[in-house]
Structures are given as C-alpha cells and as structure tokens.
C-alpha cells in the first residue's frame, strides 16, 4: 500500500472535515465513470442535491492516497461528517436498511409530487406497442447524463406511477429525481415523425446553429456574435456585426446577463468556436451557440460576398 505523505494527508483531512458529505469517486455527479461510483451518487442523490465529490481520475495521487488514508482498497469511498462510512456496497445496504437518512441527518426524498406529461399524440403513438405488451407499464428512464430510455417492463416496489388515459407509466426514484416537469410529445416534421422529450432539469449545452438560423437571429437583434479567429483572419473575411474576441472583450462578455443573452461563437470552420462556446457555458451562460461550419458555411449559405479562404 502506498505511503501517504503529510501534505496529502493534510489535504484529505481538510476535505473530509470541511464538507458534511464527501464522495471520492471516478468521474463526477453528472458523469460517473464507473458503475460503483454511479450507484453511489445515484443513492446519495435521493437524499441530498449536491455532495462534495473528488474525482480520483483527475488526481492519481488521491486515487492511491485515499486508499491508504481510509485503509480501504476500492473507490468510491464515502465520508459523512468526517467519518469514513464505506464503499458502494455499504452505501446500498445502509440505504436499504434506512440507516442512511440517520447518518446524513435528512429524510430520503419522495417523488410523489413529480409531474410529467405525455401528450395525447404521444400516447396514441405508443398505443400499438402498449397493446403488444399487455399488462406491462411503460418504463421511462432518465440517466444521470440525461439520456432517455422507454420500454415496457413490470413495475417495481419503489417506482413512481402515473397514468395517461390507457397508458401506465413508471419511473424509478433516480429517474424521477431528474424528471419533474418533463414532457413527451409526438411530433411530425416533414417526412419525419418521432418522440420529442423536453426536460427542464437538463443542464444547458452548447446549441449548434446554422448560418441561415443565425442570420434570422441577428436580423431580429437577438444574438451577440463573437468571432474567435485572429485579427489577421478578420482582415481576410468578416461577418458584419460580429465582435473580435480579445482580452478587452472578455470582461464585457462576463458582465452580460448570463440568463438571457444569446451568445454565438464563430470561427473559420466551427472547431475553435466550439471550444470557446464550451468555456462560456462553463462560466454560467445559459444560451450558448456555435455557428456550424463557421464563416466558410456562412459565405456559402448566407452571403457570397464574404470571401472564402
């Protein structure tokens, strides 16, 4: 077993003493990177909204060090109020035995008031499949990464149940914790038809926008467009009304209304601007776009007077 140096020991002491609930895990709460870590955050998430997590994949020293610190050979590891509780097995057992609520000092959440909606159109579209699975409810699953799955499967003891006309729907508690306000519709666009799921709990992501759609947004005055290319590239070709991203623009952007500003990033082909868009998303902007194909696509689709290079 790895020796634990004093600096790391002090750091681990400080982490477990300064947070009520600490989980040393692989990945983070949104993106657990191993099944045991996923199980642990899934269970803890039914009691508390946010927990302090330490991603050992980003800290090889902690990955080895925490095993020595706790004298415990595996990850994840849970600390509550400075006390080592155990790994994913113990977390599950404590949950099942009702002991986790006492240890955490909070009641397990109930999801009785979780509201979901399935439109009549969607219920109709599911009807044939439902008829082929008599007696089984439709199970809706929402993963920690907000991936969705729909299939017919028998209800389990702690499922949350909802009924839409003839259709019975069930969700497990972890899915339900991510589903309040979710709606499922069945939409037809041209030749294509399919289910459309909207979920207000989904974290914001960078949206891809086409040149034509961006043109419409700019004409309405709804978009603040940031050009992440170099000044030299701007001399070769530029989209009118865009702003060069330089050291002086960044504080201006940071001062903007993060909830309501529609920030669009643009470069030559759409690669560099994606990086910039990801960064501003991480800074808390809720409406962040990347111009698909960059100024090159703009030149081909919207304005041929913009030179291609």
């Amino acid at each position: 077993m790895t020796e634990l140096d004093q600096g790391l020991r002090d750091e681990l002491d400080s982490i477990v003493q300064n947070h009520d609930v600490v989980l040393f895990m692989k990945g983070n709460q949104q993106f657990p990177q191993c099944g045991f870590s996923a199980s642990a955050v899934g269970i803890l998430g039914q009691y508390v909204d946010t927990i302090k997590t330490v991603n050992v994949l980003e800290r090889p020293d902690v990955r080895a060090g925490i095993k020595a610190y706790s004298d415990w050979p595996t990850i994840p590891q849970l600390y509550i109020k400075g006390e080592f509780m155990g790994g994913s097995d113990i977390i599950r057992e404590m949950d099942e035995a009702g002991e986790l609520a006492d240890a955490l000092g909070v009641e397990k959440k109930t999801y009785d008031d979780v509201s979901i909606d399935i439109t009549e159109g969607a219920v109709k579209a599911i009807a044939d499949a439902a008829a082929a699975n008599p007696g089984l409810p439709l199970r809706l699953e929402v993963s920690p990464r907000f991936e969705y799955a729909l299939h017919f499967e028998a209800a389990k003891g702690n499922d949350i149940k909802r009924t839409f006309g003839e259709l019975n729907v069930v969700l497990d508690p972890q899915s339900a914790s991510r589903a309040d306000g979710l709606s499922i519709d069945y939409v037809t666009e041209g030749e294509q038809a399919g289910f459309k799921i909207t979920n207000p709990n989904e974290p914001a992501t960078v949206k891809q926008i086409s040149p034509t759609a961006l043109k419409a947004m700019m004409d309405n005055g709804d978009a603040y467009v940031v050009d992440v290319r170099t000044p030299a590239e701007r001399e070769q070709a530029v989209i009118e009304g865009t702003h060069l991203l330089d050291a002086s623009l960044e504080p201006t952007l940071m001062g903007m209304d993060k909830e309501n500003t529609h920030l669009v990033f643009q470069c030559h082909h759409g690669g560099r601007s994606q990086q910039a868009a990801n960064y501003f998303l991480s800074q808390g902007f809720k409406n962040v776009y990347n111009l698909t194909g960059g100024i090159d696509a703009w030149s081909q689709e919207v304005d041929a007077t913009v030179p291609r290079y």
């Binding site: 155990g86 097995d89 113990i90 057992e93």
Partner: protein, 77 residues
C-alpha cells in the same frame, strides 16, 4: 483467482462455516463468508475484516482481484 481468494479467507477465518468466492470476469469477484467472528461488528468492520484478509490479492500493482462487487457476511444462526 477463486482458489486464491478462498484460500486467503480460510487462513483468516479458520472457524468459518462457509466460504465462497464467485468470479465475474475482469478481476471482479463476490464473496460470502459465514463466521462467528462477525458477531457484534458493524457493517464497516465486517467488510474490513474480509477485505484485509485479501489485501495482497487486491494490490493495484500485483494483485489479481480488481474489485469486490459484493461482500456477504453472515453470523451463523
């Protein structure tokens, strides 16, 4: 691997009524031990007893056991 784990457990729990290791591939195992030694211990202490007896097999550098999916410890009735 099953044999190595069960052997290590027999050394630590000579009194055990039952010792069983199941392999799940990829270095994952499940363990079941029935022994008087678990009497009066909490969950953490019970699992520590089991894990400490296979500590060398779980060494990240030299061990063959990568993860213990499930530990079942039982005090004989």
């Amino acid at each position: 691997m099953k044999d190595a784990v069960e052997e290590a457990l027999r050394v630590s729990f000579p009194d055990a009524v039952e010792i069983e290791c199941q392999e799940h591939g990829g270095g994952h195992v499940s363990i079941r031990v029935v022994s008087e030694r678990f009497e009066g211990l909490n969950r953490l202490a019970k699992q520590r007893l089991v894990l400490s007896s296979i500590k060398e097999l779980m060494d990240p550098a030299t061990g063959v056991v990568h993860a213990v999916d499930k530990i079942e410890v039982v005090v004989p009735a």
